[in-house]
Symmetry: C2
Subunit: 598 residues, 2 copies
């Protein structure tokens, strides 16, 4: 090979070990992460990081991950191996020599459905079949719990059972309310579910651009993103070597990989949008489906008549795919080829179980454009396309905005529920103000947490680099942690029956000055520890009943402990509560206080 194999980050997270839960219906083992906690039972949490955090796993990026699903597909049948399409120079943007990323070295079977059947999770769910993927995600969603931890929230119409069963999963998928993105050619996948009635998920975007980045960087970004909690990863590469980069990513990804096939199609016509054709696009879909891409973002809702609706917008069309399609439509004076050939796209997707992520090409890219005519016209079309896709047994989720001020966020959820038949919603933020470039992970975390609470199933992250440049590895981590906290805030608000366990564990640790436990239970133990150690670095400090915020005399938690000890010494707080409650009175006689006029 021309180049060294990418260096990727491995090793367990602090105080954590990989544990596996077994299935009862199928042969499977579901990974979770167990965090040790001093003097308490360990806390088991959801784990998207794959074998990279399992010290028992042998990692070889040039070989790829084990085929978790290989046996399942063999047992299920209904698929055949075949000679896939040959890779062309155009697939890699005509890169050559030292500029061509080496192809992934280990060969895998290319599968497709036999005959004209659908091999989608939706088809199986409707047939009443509980697949191994469905059982896997059911176990995964329960995070090792035997019952609900707590029930305290406002689910806003969501239905969150105490424990998820495989049958519940099947029913949700059959109803179209959830999807398991799982291409039959992505057998390294550890399946996951996206739906309003499950844990809120997050997506991290990676991918090169013409200006920067490489395969090595992108594979590490994927591994890094899932280490910190990304549930899916989209490869949004727009530069050279799109095909080969994607192979390296897919063969090494335990999470679903999404793409926007239009980008590669555009590269094949040298960036001239007007030269796109249905044939080139179709070929790209098959190319990517054969590699194992789990979901395609397809901007089939950007229709010719909607484009003029964007004329008065402050920021026009901010979706890459949306703008490309709009350019094509206007130039050719024709309806979108994605819209016209949507049936045929479905026929491809159902053979491999590639899920649709119906793109929001007309999403608002500024506060001024939020909830405008163009945006909702497209949303209604996405609802129509959802029904067409479902009729072909294709799994579907719906993409959403964007830039939306807080008071307009609920309407987005309401409109999506109304027009898209409860298909899962997958938003980008939304950003709640435009005025903070450099901080858009935060402007959007606000909107994302809120819309996640209202029912959005997956939140696409935004990094600090939004609007400014391609995110690097540090930006990826910041974006992922930010969106993990936002999705967790949403789970808490919805009253997810497991969510509060982690908040309570970390708060107990905090109150008890178990500093290492506090760090280890947090979403980013390394950063928390570093920040603490900036001012209190010694080992002995980890036993201190204070930190540098307040020092020993002013630490409220230390004083709280003193208070409890004092109260116990005297008579116990409970008795005291009784005594003082009876005696407590406002000391000021009523007639000295002037009542304000009501």
């Amino acid at each position: 090979m021309n180049r060294p194999v990418p260096k990727i980050t491995t090793g367990a997270l602090p105080a954590s070990r990989k544990v596996y839960a077994s299935g009862t219906l199928h042969e499977l083992r579901v990974p979770m992460r167990e965090i040790s906690v001093t003097d308490e039972a360990p806390l088991t949490v959801y784990d998207s990081s794959g074998p990279y955090t399992d010290p028992a796993a042998t990692i070889d990026i040039a070989k790829g991950l084990p085929e978790v699903r290989g046996g399942w597909l063999q047992t299920r049948g209904e698929v055949e191996a075949y000679e896939g399409r040959a890779v062309t120079s155009a697939d890699n943007g005509f890169a050559e020599g030292a500029r061509l990323t080496p192809p992934f070295p280990a060969a895998r079977d290319t599968l497709r459905a036999t005959g004209d059947r659908a091999v989608t999770q939706l088809a199986y769910a409707r047939a009443g079949i509980v697949t191994p993927e469905m059982e896997f995600v059911a176990i995964r969603e329960n995070e090792g719990r035997a019952k609900a931890y707590s029930r305290d929230g406002d689910p806003m119409g969501a239905n969150l059972p105490d424990l998820v069963t495989p049958e519940f999963v099947r029913d949700e998928i059959a109803a179209g309310r959830a999807i398991i993105p799982a291409n039959i050619n992505h057998r390294e996948l550890e399946p996951m579910i996206i739906g309003r009635n499950f844990l809120v998920k997050i997506n991290a975007n990676i991918g090169n651009s013409a200006v920067t980045s490489s395969m090595e960087e992108e594979v590490e970004k994927m591994v890094w993103a899932i280490r910190w909690g990304a549930d899916t990863v989209m490869d949004l590469s727009t530069g050279r070597n799109i095909h080969n980069i994607r192979d390296w990513i897919l063969r090494n990804s335990p999470v679903p990989i999404g793409t926007v096939p239009l980008y590669q199609a555009l590269e094949k016509v040298n960036g001239i949008a007007e030269d796109l054709t249905w044939e080139i696009y179709r070929d790209t879909l098959i190319e990517q489906a054969e590699q194992g891409v789990d979901y395609f973002t397809i901007h089939a809702g950007v229709r010719l008549h909607m484009i003029p609706m964007t004329a008065k917008r402050v920021t026009g069309i901010v979706s890459r795919g949306g703008s490309i399609m709009a350019k094509w439509c206007l130039h050719h004076h024709r309806e979108s080829f994605l819209y016209e050939h949507f049936d045929e796209i479905c026929d491809i997707c159902r053979r491999y179980d590639v899920s649709f992520s119906l793109g929001d090409g007309l999403r608002p890219g500024s506060i001024a454009d939020a909830n405008d005519e163009a945006q909702f016209a497209e949303l209604r079309t996405l609802g129509e396309l959802t029904k067409i896709a479902w009729a072909k047994d294709c799994q579907v989720m719906i993409e959403g905005p964007g830039h939306v001020p807080m008071h307009k966020i609920k309407a987005n959820m309401d409109e999506q529920l109304k027009h898209c038949h409860e298909a899962p919603f997958y938003t980008l933020g939304p950003l709640t103000t435009d005025i903070a470039p450099g901080y858009d992970h935060i402007t959007s975390a606000i909107g994302a947490a809120m819309i996640g609470w209202f029912g959005t199933a997956m939140l696409c992250y935004v990094t600090p680099k939004e609007h400014l440049g391609l995110p690097d590895r540090d930006d990826v981590k910041t974006g992922v942690i930010t969106y993990k906290l936002a999705s967790h805030a949403a789970d808490l608000a919805k009253g997810h029956p497991g969510a509060q366990a982690r908040d309570d564990a970390i708060s107990r640790a905090r109150f008890d000055f178990r500093w290492e436990d506090q760090f280890n239970l947090g979403l980013d133990p390394d950063t928390a520890r570093e920040m603490h150690d900036e001012t209190m670095p010694k080992e002995a400090h980890k036993l201190a009943h204070f930190c540098s915020m307040c020092g020993p005399k002013f630490c409220s938690m230390k004083i709280s402990h003193d208070i409890r000890a004092e109260a116990e010494k005297r008579e116990g707080m409970a008795k005291m509560a009784e005594k003082y409650r009876d005696g407590g009175d406002l000391y000021m006689p009523a007639d000295t206080v002037e009542e304000p006029a009501e």
Copy 2:
């Protein structure tokens, strides 16, 4: 002097100049910041940064800022200069020699009200008087606008006029719905207003602890915090030299300074909470009022009978002041001396116009403790104390939580409105989950934006260091920018008539690839520029119609411009809209699609 004068950050922000608007009723000039924008009118925005960003100002930290309000107080009269209380060694925590921070070198008059009158903005407002401070803030709130920029929001019961008038300000203060924290001994102050019907404000916390920091660092933190947008600053010092550090800060602060007098009182009794006495506390109030502290956080709502309500909490009492008072009460088996002597505290505050910030000593410090009995018992007491303070013409705001999951946030606003007679609400976040130490500026920005939308008047910032250590200068900036974006998101959602001007200006700049304008209009131009330049550093890149996120072929905004050009060439988008709307049809005949059962 023993030590060098602190080095502080001066100089205009990029593309910005300081402008001043004159009063019509009084002699005053109100600072604002004017940002130049290429090919557009400059954008005028609110400016908390004081003379430090005015190149025409001479800054000498050892001399302090000019007495903006000196003439007003002289004209208004009703005050007398007197020999203030002598500074004692205890005031500085018994520091001596090289450890004693040098006193602020330039002397100022110490004023108090003559006789037993009240010289508060509330007293004047009730008497029908529009003070210079009221006119100042009215002009300030309008940010140079002549009329409303837009009206699009959900004010959630707030009353936001198109333009703020001095009379509107007077009425709001008289009703107790707003306060202008403005001690007559803080004459360097550029007055500002805190109230639900005005721009949402933010507070930054500074101050040393026993473990770390110094006067030089703290003065620079104050200057740095207001540069980035802090509307008030609290000096929460708990180490040595509290008195002298505060002097340096006050004499150089154009924004209101808040404190928690209990901290210094505790230092005077060597950190032994049980040794606190009303006399020591009273003396500390006078000491700080004479220096010019604009608002006191006073935890008079932590009453003896409430303390046992915290026994079952996961994180006990997390407020420093609240825990100190709880310890004192339990030890002495007595009602809080703050509560019992509240009348006398009012008598002191009304002589200097120190505003109350009624402390939330029993706020929840974890998700588990949110909205519990202790928290709301205290809130109801704060409502009672508000009426007592108002009866003495003292200005009041109410502090709030804390850690609150999203679904419980609205109830906090509702309860506060119900029990506290519309006094302004001033919350700390709230944090919407506990699980992200290192990122609590973000977990809390979510809650802060929401509760700001619901009616909270001021948001106390949280930095990345929360729970881990004392914030440094970088943390202060991150916290301020985060809270500026959150307060602005709240203003937008409320439909503040001026808010969207900045979002629209920056979005126009973004769409037009006016990179410098985009940076300059953002809350943190330096960081935005640096991030952009990481991958595209050349001057020529500032004219590029793309950035490294997408590169030249994939930039959606570039393509949007191409689309508009193409459409104009043909016939104009508007005509096109008409034509296509009539022709657009779902291409699939209805009978091929199976309608889902409703």
